[in-house]
Amino acid sequence: MTQPIHNPDRTADVLIIGAGASGAAVAASLSEAGFDVVCIEQGHWQDSFKFPTTEPDWELRSMSSWSINPNKRKLPEDYPINVENSAVDPVMFNGVGGSTIMWVAHTPRLHPSDFRVKSLDGVAEDWPISYEDLEPWYDLNDQVMGCAGIAGDPANPPRSERPMPPVPIGKDGEMIAGAFDRLGWHWWPSDNYVNSTRYGEGRDACNFCGHNMMGCYQRAKASTDLTYWPRAIAQGAELVTGARVREITTGADGRATGVNYLDSEGNNRHRAARAVVMAANGVGTPRLLLLSDSDKHPNGLANSSGLVGKNLMFHVYAGVSGVFPDHEEPWVGPVANIILSQEFYETDPDRDFVRGYSYQMARGQGPGATARSGPKRVSWGQNHHAELGRRFGNTLNLGVIGDDLPEEHNTVTLDDRLKDSSGLPAPKITYRVSENSRALLDHALVQGQAVMEEAGASEVMINQLSREAGWHLMGTARMGDDPERSVVNGNGQSHDIDNLFIVDGSVFVTGGAVNPTPTIQAIALRTADYITNERKDLKA
């Protein structure tokens, strides 16, 4: 995308770190309000015509250069992550659009109860904001990203009309939905940021190719390089790519003055700004705050609470796969943007866990992926062909997204030895699945099995815990009213540094049991409006 020439020596009003889901939303909002915005992004623009889904080796590439796991992708713009002490691997994409390049774009919202778990269930903490506080920005984000769905879901508060009708759920969706109906359990067509009709500049309707985790050739899936960034750039925002921030700089008064970064040639550079907005995701943001330690901030920046990097949440994922011998072509249609069930979302005192989970239906895949994935790899040797024949073209899945309550021992810290391609310390994840999460998953797997059997599955397979499923990165710089128990306030503003803001999933207090990105973007837009309305001092 062409940009006008910007003066790199100026002091920008706002500098954003990370051009993903949240950074793009802030850039578009603040540039529209007349702020001078610069964003520094370590990755690059993607060309949707070059996504691997047009290549015969697409399945193999999903294991290497197009893996969702940066430790497998190993591109220079990725940073390695030490996961030796983690039950779950974080996954992400680093580039313009951030992880929305690879996301599925399944876009439910948190429930009102998710913001009040302490008051309602006596666990974790309440958020300093409510569902109602966020609602206008959820709606705005649905419009800009383009939401396909249908209002009227009884498991959620009423919603405004969705901009597009739902993505059709297909015969397979109807089959699973019918099972939920017969069991008397909730289901609803998923809200998706996937076009069911043409929507947005140059963005077609989905052509049901089934593989949107490797980028969307049709541009039917909303990623922020297609939605927010073109607006932001047209409004004058500057986006610097291939540039890695190594620290946030502070002045004598302790306030943020900008960032030091390495440009695309590896040169050390400084960019000055009146405010810094962090949008580097729930792993990248705590990493940078910890990397920005100094004599004044020996434990890292914005860390007087000691909570930077703590309370990491992923959402625990497990799954039930059903083999449906009479079903055909389970790869037709978006991979996991079909239906969801929230029958078991809320706390029930009769169960041995608090909070709950959602089911998200997912489709089958091509033969290579069928052979190597699912609850267990298809066996090699004499039984290989028979086993593959049973599973390929016949398998549908129910993913479980479990509420993953915050625990201080689940952390992002800096690794002593591992370094990224710029020589900066890599993040290290320490994460274990709590007893509550395990009990919740066990419950979900039993009920999920019942759904698959009711739907007519001839064989049901269980995946106890998905390892490569840390797609939701939350909690590592949480918001709150108490500076001793949180890193930022309800406006995303650091308690310690009044011109430092965080807008990514780091600020989540609890995770709920839904995919987080509409909430992340709503928070980002709300923080941007706070800056616009209350921090005019930051504008030159």
């Binding site: 889904t53 193999l60 290497s64 497998k72 429930h111 052509n207 049901f208 190719c209 033969p367």
Partner: protein, 142 residues
């Protein structure tokens, strides 16, 4: 392992992992060993797995001298001593085997890349919500 290496051991192992079926030879007989080596050379993780697996098997002559059961036993020994490397090697082999048009034909799979053609989006049929719509709102009020 490099493209110039002797691939006879790999080829024999591939035939045990994905044996012949119907009118198709096994993965080794299909000549996929060279492709496996080439793809592994391009990715350090894949290459490490391939090197581990091949390095842990008996020599080419010893392996091919074994009967089918003996060869499977040798592979199983590697699998249990280094399940991660073996699993990754297997994933690469599966991905390459299932890229082959002849394999697609046998599976009666169209074998097209997902894009640009895609598939046809069916119409949205609102009547599927008939039962779900009857439910009263049940989200937890706060």
């Amino acid at each position: 392992m490099t493209l110039n290496s002797d691939t006879s051991l790999l080829s024999a192992a591939l035939d045990r992992v994905i044996p012949p079926v119907d009118d198709l030879p096994g993965a080794g007989g299909m000549g996929l060993a060279g492709e496996v080596v080439k793809r592994c050379e391009a990715d350090s993780r894949f290459n490490a797995a391939l090197t581990t697996v091949i390095g842990a098997l008996p020599s080419p002559n010893d392996f091919t001298a074994l009967d089918d059961e003996g060869q499977d036993g040798a592979l199983r020994t590697v699998e249990s001593s280094d399940p991660d490397a073996f699993g990754l090697w297997l994933d690469v082999v599966y991905a390459i085997y299932y890229m082959q048009p002849a394999v697609h034909r046998r599976l009666s799979w169209h074998g097209r890349t997902p894009q640009p053609e895609g598939n046809v989006m069916p119409p949205w049929d609102e009547s599927v919500l008939e039962v779900a719509r009857q439910r009263e709102p049940f989200w937890r009020q706060v």
